[in-house]
């Protein structure tokens, strides 16, 4: 439960993520014009809970498409009213870092990316790429790990607590919209 990198030696340098608390997020979310939610392939994250459902709800609330890492997209294809893109995360990051990328709707690149459920070390490096090469993007990690390479990141927490946090995040987002 502290803001040290989840993997002990995952210390990139002087620039490390601001700690993101759930209650901060709805406010921040309002300032985002074209957010993109990205779901990684940490399969354990989805065991014995309804994480997919919350993620989809969140994406809808933010009006964001959902990019899902290929290892997990099967879990998401049956949801309605949400654009699910099944795409390798590295490929995605490579496009996101290109300011002139057209996005999935041909309307241009996004302004913020919200990551969840990635394999920690892989996710960390993808965030590192964006940190260094995508100054045009804000990055958020709402995974259960403190991700120093994000701009804003949840702290480390247990799987159980995290699901609670995600739930309350969805709740807060809802009430902030209404």
């Amino acid at each position: 439960m502290s803001a040290t990198p989840w993997q002990i030696a995952d210390i990139p340098g002087p620039k490390q993520a601001h700690v993101l608390r759930v209650e901060m997020f709805p406010k921040i979310a309002k300032t985002l014009k074209r957010p993109l939610m990205v779901v990684g392939s940490r399969k354990e994250a989805f065991e014995g809970n309804d994480l997919e459902k919350y993620i989809v709800e969140l994406a809808k609330l933010m009006n964001s498409p959902l990019v899902v890492s290929p290892g997990l997209c099967k879990n998401f294809i049956n949801f309605k009213d949400i654009k699910v893109i099944c795409m390798g995360i590295e490929d995605l990051i490579n496009r996101l870092k290109d300011k002139d990328w057209k996005g999935f709707d041909d309307e241009g690149n996004y302004d913020a990316v919200i990551f969840i459920a990635g394999i920690y070390y892989f996710q960390s490096l993808m965030l590192s790429t964006l940190k260094h090469f995508a100054p045009h993007l804000k990055t958020f990690s709402i995974d259960r790990f403190y991700h120093p390479n994000a701009e804003f990141s949840f702290e480390n927490m247990s799987e159980k607590r995290w699901i609670q946090e995600i739930k309350s995040l969805v709740g807060m987002m809802k009430s902030s919209l209404h």
């Binding site: 989840w6 099944c86 590295e90 990328w101 394999i119 070390y121 490096l125 590192s128 260094h132």
Partner: protein
């Protein structure tokens, strides 16, 4: 020849490279009449234009593992978000530099290994010993011919190739110093050069040992040998070899044979030395890859452990000592502060070691190592102190100290839930620990950070004891090169695309989830009648699983270089034959000239040969070097998620049409050929992604419609099966309607229409202007 004699009088090891000179002249002028291409022994800049072409399409993608640089006394420099270091470098170039350093460390390993082997073999067999890889292999050294531009006939001919390699490595390393190369593109060009040099060194090493030792020579029916943690017969004296250089291990076998006691002493290996021991003698056994090293050594089963070079745990000597295993280190690569007894008499050494006075020594002479190792093993085996039940109890008692602090997990490179497993074990449930065993890398970082000093890896061993005992598998011993005849058989089908692709599983064992995923992938592709290859730790790990019938993949599939077969080429150095097979197709099937003709061949492979390597657990710098070498030759590589820690990928952009233009060699026109292959080096997060990506990356501009149809149907099918949907991008790979898989044609045509697809021509594809009007 007089020249050579005068040289032999010089004692220094360096002087060995002499005596070549006249021979070279001979080969060039008398024995190989192929015209010399534009780049024999290419310098750093000779192939730079080719690299820049590749790098323009497949731009380097960096994922910095560290934001700082600490390479000189100006550092640490923080390179975050546009900041530059004191030398003026930015993060991109600095990452390019780090990648180059890694590739050079890898290439240097292979070069050194090759030099050690060659020196040893020349000493034993003579400089004139012929290079001979078997009856059906005339093209003995595709990479050497291609890169060096020579056709090696004798062991001695390989020495100048190594001279060249050492020079290139030195020049490249120089460029990594502060204030040298300034731009990431040229760092990557240099990394590609380092990779090519690495691959060349692989070939030198493997063709030397295949020629001079009694290895299988491209034999698809190379024997099945024993592999697994459970295959060693503990009732016999046990000698364990770890590393990559077969010289000491083979001398152990020689000595046992000479004494007529081979069979009554177990010779087993870990890492590539194990592969090569079984290539040398089917009586040798493979314990497993790097990821089994620590647990096996801790079992105390080995009487003597012989270490040569590469991939040896730095603390393994201490671990061996703890269980009473004696140690011999054998090369300049790992001296370990041990006393050098190379010049002492055998009996004295044996006494020193066996008595325990000097339980670990350095002997820099393979034959002597052979004799000493055997004598020591025979002497101490009767009193061997293998691990006991009371020790196992002690370990499980230690587990009771666990306070569930979670530090073990947070120090685990694979992020395995080891804390939960130890906590469960504390509560008498060993199942979770036993599950961890399958995924664990045996790295012991968990242990290292446990505040309670719980011997976690030992606990894993105890929990998985039953599994370990039953780990008995069969692997086909490494066959080495692909035969010319095989190339003739399948060359056409590969180039036309009718064999959907060649998938090679290569590299180390740093998998995200254990080796089982590797097995699943190999099985899937073999089932689909791709040609499947494997080497190194991956070739071992593919064997470490049995199907319902109790068969490993090597028993299930034949060992030919053909559709639906699985080839174990052998140890890491045998990766050369994977690259070599691609080169051979270009030469034997397509009649492209090899000699000093790198660009043309790489262009051929990139555009025509649907080969992809999957380095699912790439860990070592050697893996970085091998992969980068494959890339220069036009072969894409897919890495597992840990591979992102190499910090660099080479990614194409499907959405940028202008990047996918090729010349049509028939007309000279620039035409759009689709994103094929889409990436050169790609990190996949999961096995699903790796498989689908591989199926996509085997597509090549040159595929015939029939070939493309086959490739596409696998791609779409795998995509549906694993992702649950038809791929968004399949239309990019359809040149005309006959590319479409027949069974889905209507459905796909509809989608094509929606996507405003239009047919394009199938070119005779090349990136090289000079290929436009080809003179052959």
């Amino acid at each position: 020849m007089a020249t050579k004699l005068s040289i032999n009088e010089l004692k220094s090891s360096f002087a060995n490279i002499k005596g070549l000179e006249l021979l070279i002249g001979k080969i060039i002028e008398e024995e190989w009449d192929e015209i010399v291409g534009p780049t024999p022994y290419p310098s750093i800049i000779d192939l730079r234009a080719w690299d820049h072409r590749l790098l323009n399409r497949y731009e380097p993608f960096y994922s910095p593992l560290c934001d700082m640089c600490c390479l000189c006394t100006f550092g640490k420099c923080d390179l975050t978000k546009g900041k530059k270091g004191s030398c003026g470098i930015d993060i991109k170039s600095q990452q390019g530099k780090i990648v180059l350093i890694a590739c050079l460390m890898g290439a240097a390993c292979h070069a050194t290994h090759a030099r050690h082997l060659l020196d040893y073999l020349i000493k034993r067999k003579g400089r004139d010993y012929p290079i001979h890889l078997g009856e059906e292999i005339d093209l003995e050294a595709p990479l050497t011919r291609l890169v060096a531009g020579i056709k090696p006939k004798k062991l001695g001919d390989l020495e100048e190739v190594l001279d060249y390699i050492e020079k290139q490595i030195t020049h490249l390393l120089s460029a990594t110093a502060t204030g040298q190369e300034a731009n990431y593109i040229d760092f990557e060009s240099k990394a590609l050069h380092a990779g090519m040099i690495d691959n060349l060194a692989l070939e030198v090493a493997d063709i030397a040992q295949i020629s001079a030792l009694r290895f299988p020579k491209g034999d698809p029916e190379a024997p099945l040998v024993d592999l697994g943690m459970g295959v060693v017969d503990k009732s016999k004296p046990v000698i364990l070899c770890i590393g990559h250089n077969v010289a000491p291990g083979s001398e152990i076998i020689n000595y046992l044979e000479k004494e007529g006691i081979y069979g009554s002493v177990e010779v087993a290996g870990i890492c590539c030395t194990a592969h090569d021991l079984t290539r040398y003698s089917t009586g040798a056994k493979i314990v497993g890859p790097l990821s089994r090293q620590l647990i096996f050594v801790r079992s105390g089963v080995a009487d003597v452990m012989v270490l040569d070079e590469e991939c040896i745990r730095t603390d393994i000597i201490e671990e061996a000592k703890k269980v009473g295993t004696r140690v011999i280190v054998t090369t300049d690569q790992l001296c370990a502060n041990l006393p050098d007894m190379t010049k002492s008499p055998v009996d004295l050494i044996v006494k020193e070691i066996a008595s325990g006075n000097t339980p670990a020594v350095f002997i820099n002479n393979p034959a002597k190592v052979g004799e000493v190792a055997v004598k020591v093993a025979l002497e101490i085996a009767p009193s061997r102190r293998a691990s006991t039940i009371s020790e196992e109890k002690e370990i499980l008692n230690a587990v009771l100290r666990c306070r569930a602090c979670g530090r073990c997990r947070r120090n685990c490179p694979a992020d395995l839930p080891i804390d939960d497993a130890v906590s469960a074990a504390r509560d008498k449930n060993l199942d979770l620990l036993a599950q961890i065993y399958d995924r664990c890398l045996n790295c012991a970082r968990c242990e290292s950070d446990c505040p309670e000093h719980i011997p976690i890896v030992s606990a894993i061993r105890v929990a998985a004891m039953e599994k370990i005992r039953n780990e008995k598998y069969k692997v086909r011993s490494g066959r080495g090169p692909i035969k010319d005849t095989e190339i003739r058989n399948v060359g056409r089908s590969i180039v036309m695309g009718e064999i959907p692709g060649v998938i090679a599983f290569v590299g180390c064992a740093n998998y995200p989830n254990g080796n089982k995923e590797l097995v699943e992938m190999a099985d899937e592709f073999a089932k689909r009648r791709y040609i499947v290859l494997a080497s190194g730790c991956s070739a071992m790990d593919i064997a470490r699983y049995k199907d319902e019938d109790g068969q490993t993949l090597y028993e299930k599939y034949a060992g030919d270089f053909d559709a639906g077969c699985i080839v174990n080429t052998g140890s890491c150095v045998s990766n050369a034959h994977i690259m070599g097979a691609a080169v051979k197709i270009a030469n034997i099937f397509a009649k492209r000239k090899l000699r000093g003709n790198f660009e043309e061949i790489a262009d051929y492979i990139l555009n025509r040969i649907g080969a992809v390597a999957i380095a699912w657990g790439a860990q070592h710098q050697k893996a970085a070097a091998i992969a980068t070498g494959a890339n220069r030759l036009g072969i894409p590589v897919i890495l597992g998620p840990q591979g992102a820690k190499f910090r660099r990928a080479f990614l194409g952009r499907q959405d940028k049409k202008e990047k996918w233009m090729v010349y049509n060699a028939r007309t000279g026109e620039k035409v759009y050929a689709g994103p094929a292959p889409e990436h050169l080096l790609y990190v996949a997060e999961t096995k699903e992604e790796a498989m689908v990506t591989a199926a996509r990356l085997v597509m090549r501009p040159n595929d015939t419609s029939k070939g493309r149809m086959i490739k596409l149907s696998h791609y779409i099918d795998l995509h549906q099966k694993l992702y649950g949907m038809i791929p968004d991008d399949f239309h990019l790979f359809v040149r005309n309607e006959s590319d479409l898989p027949i069974t889905m044609k209507d459905q796909l045509l509809k989608i094509l229409k929606e996507r405003k697809w239009e047919p394009v021509e199938i070119p005779d594809p090349t990136l090289l202007e000079r290929q436009i009007v080809r003179m052959e």
